[in-house]
Symmetry: D2
Subunit: 342 residues, 4 copies
C-alpha cells in the first residue's frame, strides 16, 4: 500500500512486540527503527525472536524526522516522547505508547511522572464510548497504559449503566514482569520474581490518575479508585480484579448484561460465558480483553475481572489498533483476538 | 520428651510440609503416617525430598486410633476429619489442618462445604487477641485456612483499633498452586498455570465465612468482606491485598502504628519497615507473616498487604505452632521465621 | 479456496495449537473438530484462547469420515491413529501428528509404544535432504515428534557432511511440560514442575528409535544415540544439546559451515550468528528452529544446540507445513518464523 | 560455644543462603557481615527473608581482619578472595565459596578466569575419596563450584570403579538462575528467563577445568569432559546429566552398585531407589545430592543424573559442611538433607 511505519524505542519490550505485529501486517512496511542505547546494533541481537529483521540495524531517534514515515510509533520511557514528536513533520501520524500524552491535567501528570507535561493527545482506547471517530480523525494519539486498559474496560460499563457508585472503586491488578520494561534491575531478576508475589507503589502508582480520568469521563462525575498493582511471576499478562459499591437494585444479571451490551460486536473484547472467569494466559500474544462480572450480595459490591496481554492490548496491539483507525484501514488488520496456549 | 505425633493425610502437600517440620522438631517423634490412597507405599516415593523417612510406609487412617500417639495432625480433605477424630482416644490432642472444625455456624459450614457439620474446635490462630491461652488449654484445635490467616492478620489490627468500618472490607488474594492440593486436575497442570493468572470462586470461596467469623469477633460486630482469590504461577505463597473504608481521622501513621502495636513481640509476624511491601518469596518454607499498611487518602481506604507461605503459616507451620502451645512447649520450637531466598 | 480441514484430537495441546494456526491460514477452512472425551462440549470451553471458535462444538472421531474434509489432521494419543485413518476416504489427505506412522520398523515401534504397528507413512520433516517432493506427493504423512525434530535437524548436517562419527551421538534435551500432553497427572501439576528439573525415561524414551531412523538414513549407516529427556518448568519449548565425536580434521568453522550450508534458504531454520546460542523462548508460538554449533577441542566433540517450540515446529506448525506441501500451497502459508517475546 | 563466623560478600545469593544456615546453626554465632557495595545498609533491606538479622548492618571487607572471627566465609566474585584472605590473621579458618583457590594449575585458572592466580587451597568436597581428613586439617578450604559438585559426585564413582573410560565424558547441566548471581543484567531478567531455556558458554565455561581436575584425580589419569551448561527458568537447582563410554562388561547393575557403594553411609548423598530419577526440587533449601544411574546398551554409555540445590550443596551448604569439619563439629550440624517441597 505504501504505508511506512517508524518506531522510536524499538529495542524495548513494547517496541519489540510492535515489530512482531508490524511484520505480520499486510499494509504496513517497517521503516526506521530507533533505539538510542542500541544505535548501530543489529535488531536481531536484541530481538532474536524476529529473524525476518535480519540485516536491520537500530538508528538513533534523531534520524526519525528524516525517515519520511507515514506513521511513527513512540515506545519510549516517559518524558522522552514530547521532544521526538516535536521533531516530526506536522502531518506525520504519531501513536505514543508511552505515558507522556495521556493526561489532560498537567499538574496530575507532573505529580505522577515528574518533569514537564508534554501536552495531551487523543486517548486511544477504541472501545470507550465515542472514541473511534476521535481516534480516526487524529494525527496524534496516546495509547493507554496497560493497567488503565484492563481497569477501565472492566469498570466503564458498570459506571455507564449506573450500576455502581463512582466513589470507592477498587482495582487490584497483578501483572507479569514485562510491564516493568527491559531494564536491568535487581528486583526484576528472574531469581527474584520467580516464586514471588509483591505489591508495589501502593496508592502511588502513576497509572491511577489515568484510570481516574477515563472513568470520570465515563461516569460523568469524578470517581475515586483505590489501585494496588501486584508483580507476579509470569512474563506477560494482567489480571485486574475491579469492583465498585453497587447501587440498590443491582444484581448479577444486571452486571453481566451491562458488560454484554457494552461490548456487543467488539472484535477484541470477549465477555466470557457465565461461570467462566478470565485467564491471562488465554490472551497471550493477542489483542483480546477477556471480562467476566458478578454481583456479590454479601459485600454489596459488583466485581468485574479482566485479563489482557500487557504487551498486546496493553501496549503494542492497542497502538496498532489505533493506527489502523488513523490510517483508514480495517481496525483489526494485522491483529488477532486469539491467544497462544498453553 | 517422649512426645509422639501421628499424621492423617500425610501424602498431601500440607501433610508433607508437616513431616518436614516434624523431622526438625527436637521434642517430637514421628509416629504413624496415614494416607488412605497411598497405604502401603514408601513415604519417600511420595516425598522424595524427605530422605530421613526412608523405610517408612504409609498406613491407613484406621490404624491411627491404635497408634498411641500423643498428638495427631489431620491433614485431610474436608468432610473426613470428624470421623477420624471420633475414632481417637478422648485425651489425644488433635490439630485439624482441614476445614471441618473451623466454623461455629453449622449452616454456614454446610453452605460452604456441603455435608454434615462436624462441630467447632478452638480456632488456632495464636496471634489473635486472647487466643493463646485457649489454644494451650484445648485438646482439639482447628488450624485456620491459608487465606483466612493472611487476611485476618492483615485486617484484625485495624478493626481492633477502630480505624476502618466493619462493612465493605475487601480482600484480593493471590495464591500459589499448592493451595489447591495434590490432586490431578487439568486446570492445575503446569502447562496451564505457568504464564497464567486467573480469578476463581469469585464471591463463593469457602474461606470467606471463616474470614468473616474471625474479623467479626475482633470487631465486635458483624463484618462484610468481598473476597476474590487469584491463582498465580508459583508453587507456594500468598499475597493478600486487604482494605477497609477508613473512619474519619485515620491516616497512614495510624494504620502503621496499629500494625506495630498489634504485633510487637510476635515471633512470626513482621511489620516491615516503612516503605517496604511484603514479598511472598521472603516467607518460603518458614512460619512468617510479613505485613505492611498505609492509608490511601484518594480512595479513603486503609490498605494492608500480607504475605505468608500457604503451606507454612498457612497450614503446617501454624498447626505445629498450635501443637507446641497445646503440649506446653516453647511456641517457636521447630519453627523459623526465616524464609528461603531466592 | 475451498480447502476444508478436520481435526481429530482437537482438545489436546497439539490440536489446540493447530486450531490457532488454522484460524490464521488464508486458504483453509476449519471443518469438523473431533475430541472423543469432550464430545458435545463447546470448543471455547477447552480453548478459551480461541474466541473465533465460539459456537463450535466437539464431535466424535467417527463423524470425521462423513465430514468430507479435504485434509484431516490426527492429533491423537499413540495407538489411535490407525483406526481413524482407515475410516477415512482413500483420497483424503491425512497428516498424523501422533507417533503411529513414523517408524518403518514394526518391531521397533512395538518396543517403543506397545500394541500393533499401524504401518509407516511418509516422514514429514521437510528440511531433511530430499524430503519435500516425497511429502508433496503423499496423501498420508507422519509428522515427526518434537524431540526428533530438534535432534535430527541439529545432527543431520554434521552426519551428512561426514564431520562426526555415526556411533555414540548424544542428545540431552530439555522440554516444556506441554510435551507431556493435557492429561491430569500428579507429576505434571504446576506445584510439582515449577521449580523442578528432572530426567525421565533415561535410555528408554519412545522418541529414540525415531531419531535413530532419521539420522541413520542421513548418515547412510546405522547410528547410535544416547538420549536423555529432561522436564523443565516452562509450558512450551525444547532446547536440545546434541553432540557427536568429531572425525579428524573437524573444527569449529567446519561445524558452523555445515549448518549454514544445510539450511541456506530454509524459511524456518535459523543458524544463529557466531557466538549466539539458541533460546527456546525466541521460538514461542512460531515454526522456527534456531541452531548453533561448534567444535570442542578438549573433548573432541562437535556440539550443536537447537531450539524449537514443541507445539510449533515440534507438532502443529510442522504438520501445517507438510499440509501446505501436500496441498500445493506455498510452504509457509499461515506459518511464521517469528516468535513471541518476552 | 564461642565460635564466631564472619562473611565477606554477604549480600549475594550464596552469602544470603549462608546467613540463613548460620542462623540455624547451634554452635556458631554470626559476626561481621561485609558487603562492599551495600556497606552501611541494613541486612534485612537486602535479605527481607531473614528477619532475625534485623538491626544488623553490612560493613566493608576491610573490617573483617579486625573482627576476630574464628572462621571467615568468602562469598565474593572471582579475583577478590585472595586479597581479603591475605588480610586475615594466619590462624583464622577460611572457607572460600568463590573460584579463586580451587585450581592447582595457575595457567588453567588464568585461562578460565583471567587475572592472577591466588593459589590453591584444600578442595572442599567431603564425599570425594580421602577428602575429609584433609579438610579437617586445613585452615583454608576452597568450596567447589555448583556444577563441579553435581558433575563430580555423579561421575567419580564410575571412574573409581573403572566402569567408564576417562576420555569423552559428557556433562549437560541445567541450572536455575541464582547460579548467575545477584547482578542486574538484562539476560537474567525474569521477563527473559521465564519461559526460556538456553545453552551458554558452550565449551568455554570456567567450571570445566575444575571438573577435569577432580575427576582426573579420581581416575588417576587425565580425563576429558564435554560440558554444556543450560540456563533454566527456576531460581535454584541443578540437574546434571552425566555420561561416559562404558568399558566392556559394564551393565546397569554395576553402575548402580558403584553409586551405592561409593555413597553408603553418606549423610547428604542419596542414591535413589531403582527406577526413580532425581528431581532438583527435592533438594531445595537442603544440602542433599540425589543421584541415579544406569547403563544404556544402545549407545554404550553409562549415564548418571544428579540433582542439587546450587545454593545449598552447590555453595553455602557445602561451605558449612566443610566448616563443621574444620571446627571439629559433627559434619551435619546446622545442615539438613531434607528439601522443601513442593
Amino acid at each position: 500500500m505504501g504505508v511506512t511505519a517508524a518506531v522510536a524505542g524499538a529495542s524495548g519490550y513494547g517496541g519489540g512486540e510492535l515489530l512482531r505485529l508490524l511484520l505480520g501486517h499486510p499494509e504496513i512496511e517497517i521503516g526506521a527503527l530507533a533505539a538510542n542505547t542500541s544505535t548501530g546494533l543489529p535488531v536481531t541481537d536484541v530481538h532474536p525472536n524476529l529473524p525476518d529483521l535480519d540485516g536491520r540495524v537500530f538508528t538513533d531517534a534523531e534520524s526519525l524526522a528524516a525517515s519520511e514515515a507515514d506513521i511513527v510509533f513512540l515506545a519510549l520511557p516517559h518524558g522522552q516522547s514530547g521532544a521526538v514528536a516535536a521533531s516530526l513533520p506536522r502531518g506525520t501520524r504519531v501513536v505514543d505508547l508511552g505515558a507522556d500524552h495521556r493526561l489532560a491535567d498537567a499538574a496530575a501528570w507532573q505529580r505522577a511522572y515528574g518533569g514537564e507535561h508534554a501536552g495531551v493527545w487523543t486517548y486511544g482506547l477504541p472501545e470507550l464510548p465515542g472514541a473511534r471517530p476521535l481516534i480516526a480523525a487524529s494525527s496524534r494519539v496516546a495509547a493507554p497504559g496497560c493497567y488503565p486498559t484492563a481497569s477501565s474496560l472492566a469498570l466503564a460499563p458498570l459506571l455507564a449503566a449506573g450500576l455502581v457508585e463512582p466513589r470507592d472503586l477498587s482495582v487490584v491488578a497483578a501483572s507479569g514482569t514485562s510491564g516493568a520494561g527491559r531494564s536491568a534491575k535487581v528486583n526484576l531478576l528472574g531469581s527474584e520474581v520467580m516464586g514471588d508475589l509483591t505489591a508495589y507503589k501502593v496508592g502511588t502508582h502513576q497509572h491511577r490518575p489515568e484510570i481516574v480520568q477515563t472513568l470520570s469521563a465515563v461516569a460523568g462525575t469524578a470517581v475515586s479508585v483505590s489501585f494496588t498493582p501486584v508483580l507476579a511471576p509470569l512474563p506477560r499478562g494482567i489480571l485486574a480484579t475491579c469492583s465498585g459499591r453497587a447501587v440498590p437494585g443491582t444484581d448479577a444479571d444486571a452486571v453481566y448484561e451491562a458488560l454484554r451490551a457494552a461490548y456487543a460486536g467488539e472484535p477484541f473484547v470477549r465477555v466470557l460465558p457465565p461461570g467462566r472467569w478470565p485467564h491471562a494466559a488465554a490472551t497471550l500474544g493477542g489483542n483480546a480483553v477477556h471480562v467476566q462480572g458478578t454481583y456479590d450480595a454479601e459485600s454489596g459490591r459488583a466485581i468485574v475481572v479482566s485479563a489482557i496481554d500487557n504487551l498486546g492490548k496493553g501496549a503494542a496491539g492497542q497502538a496498532l489498533q489505533c493506527a489502523n483507525l488513523m490510517l483508514g484501514l480495517p481496525e483489526a488488520t494485522g491483529l488477532t483476538a486469539q491467544g497462544i496456549s498453553p
